[in-house]
Symmetry: C2
């Protein structure tokens, strides 16, 4: 059990969430938009001082993009298979009681992939017994991660630009003007998931405009259809029939991924991603005491 | 044979090319950036007057996006199978000796697609004997078209947002900053075409950044690799082993599509797209005299 108090920060690209732990129990959490893209290189010290003013003058353990070459300090990567013990062994210590966790890289057959922050959730979900040690885990988002856990370690993973592609299309593509509606688990979303099975994503995306021009799809449903196409493509590349997937996500994205996974014959189990992060980060904290 | 002289205009979204024909022979051609996106609704008359000042006071035959609901007048669509005779029969006549050709639509099994302008090239290529009446034709570009010709008619077609996706990624995606280099038929391009066979385009696109971070790909080759991924995905969805594809394109895009088609076991034959347009539009002109 963690002794004393510490502040853990899941410090991402666009957002940041800090957790105050006392004796291994989460006491308070605050989140804001001060991701690394909103930070100048010389602002980290002052930003951390403000976090301590808010949560208490405790040691800090930082994970996520803050440890990348675009963040505060580059904490490097550990390779796969990756465990909490390996993460803890490669922590970087910075003056004023600040510890910075490395990321995880995976290189195989000419392919390379990296993650920062997600590994804490993945390994935390397993260490807390939320998912078994041999399992397929999915973290939907801007860059969706699919991790294969073996013997409790991250054996391999792949990142997919699902969320970023949706945002790109809505903001900048010719079909973007049709994508103003909400994204919901609806018949249009399911149609997109089904259409993704035809393996011609770039043609299916073009087809959004003619379907509208020729009145084949209800107005306002294009965003759900495109989301179904993208999430469906993402899931079909990773999930086979009868595969079980543990999904770490908020309720909205989690329910869309669940729907897509079940539409293609898999089984989705939704996990609480905050609980998984807390389990992982307190484990690392214990290991470095 | 066409009698007298007329001006044909291939009037697209971003560009416009006008051809002066005298007795069925192309005499002069001029092109500019006055596509429909650069035109206000009330500017078409004046713009046509200027074309006549430049090329002569002759009747005009317009094809392409100028006949869309975003262009000058909506000339509607003819369905598939589509022929030059059907296009000619649905020409719209506008005062001051101007004829406007319809587009072509294809609807099948809940899918819809449309084209405007490309049909003149497709049917022209066949009528001029550049491609057989039963063939697969490809027109690379912002929205790449793949048309199945049967008995000399356009039997079906599909549009793919290949070129638009490349531009979106380069201008707006996180990997865009790595895509500054030229696109050439290079080992990186071929690697992208091969990688497209794994049917996980959104994962392969994400992988561009980690490959760079971890030094797995030479700097300056990401644009070629991404182009290979997109063109490879496009071709793999349409071309089977030993399929013959007639490609209507400029030299640069044509050679990239040829390389991709041959990499996946097909055979590409490059055709002159301007010659195909001239053949198609003079045929329509003859039919409406």
């Amino acid at each position: 059990v963690s002794e004393g108090a510490f502040i853990a920060v899941d410090w991402g690209t666009t957002n940041r969430r800090a957790y105050l732990f006392r004796d291994g129990v989460m006491d308070r959490t605050v989140s804001d938009g001060h991701g690394i893209l909103a930070m100048q290189a010389d602002e980290y010290g002052a930003s951390i001082a403000r976090l301590r003013e808010e949560l208490g003058d405790f040691p800090l353990l930082l994970a996520g993009m803050v440890g990348s070459n675009r963040g505060w300090r580059d904490a490097g990567y550990i390779g796969c298979p990756a465990t909490l013990v390996m993460l803890a062994s490669r922590i970087i210590h910075i003056p004023e009681r600040i510890a910075l966790a490395p990321g995880v890289s995976f290189i195989s057959g000419g392919r390379a992939d990296v993650m920062r922050g997600e590994e804490v959730q993945l390994l935390g979900a397993v260490s807390a017994g939320m998912a078994p040690g041999d399992a397929l885990l999915c973290q939907p988002g801007t860059h969706c991660k699919w991790a294969r856990m073996l013997g409790g370690a991250i054996a391999s993973f792949v990142s997919v630009m699902t969320g970023e592609m949706f945002a790109l299309l809505r903001s900048n593509a010719l079909i973007g003007s049709l994508m103003g509606g909400p994204v919901t688990d609806s018949p249009a979303f399911r149609e997109g998931v089904a259409r993704a099975g035809e393996q011609d994503l770039l043609a299916a995306l073009f087809g959004v405009r003619p379907a509208s021009l020729l009145g084949l799809r209800d107005e306002g449903t294009a965003a759900s259809y495109v989301s179904g196409l993208l999430i469906g493509s993402d899931c079909r590349a990773q999930v086979g029939k009868n595969d079980q997937v543990f999904v770490l996500a908020d309720t909205k994205l989690g329910s869309l991924y669940s729907a897509a996974i079940e539409e293609i014959g898999g089984k989705a189990i939704l996990l609480d991603s905050h609980a998984a992060f807390c389990a992982g980060i307190t484990n690392i904290w214990d290991l470095i005491q």
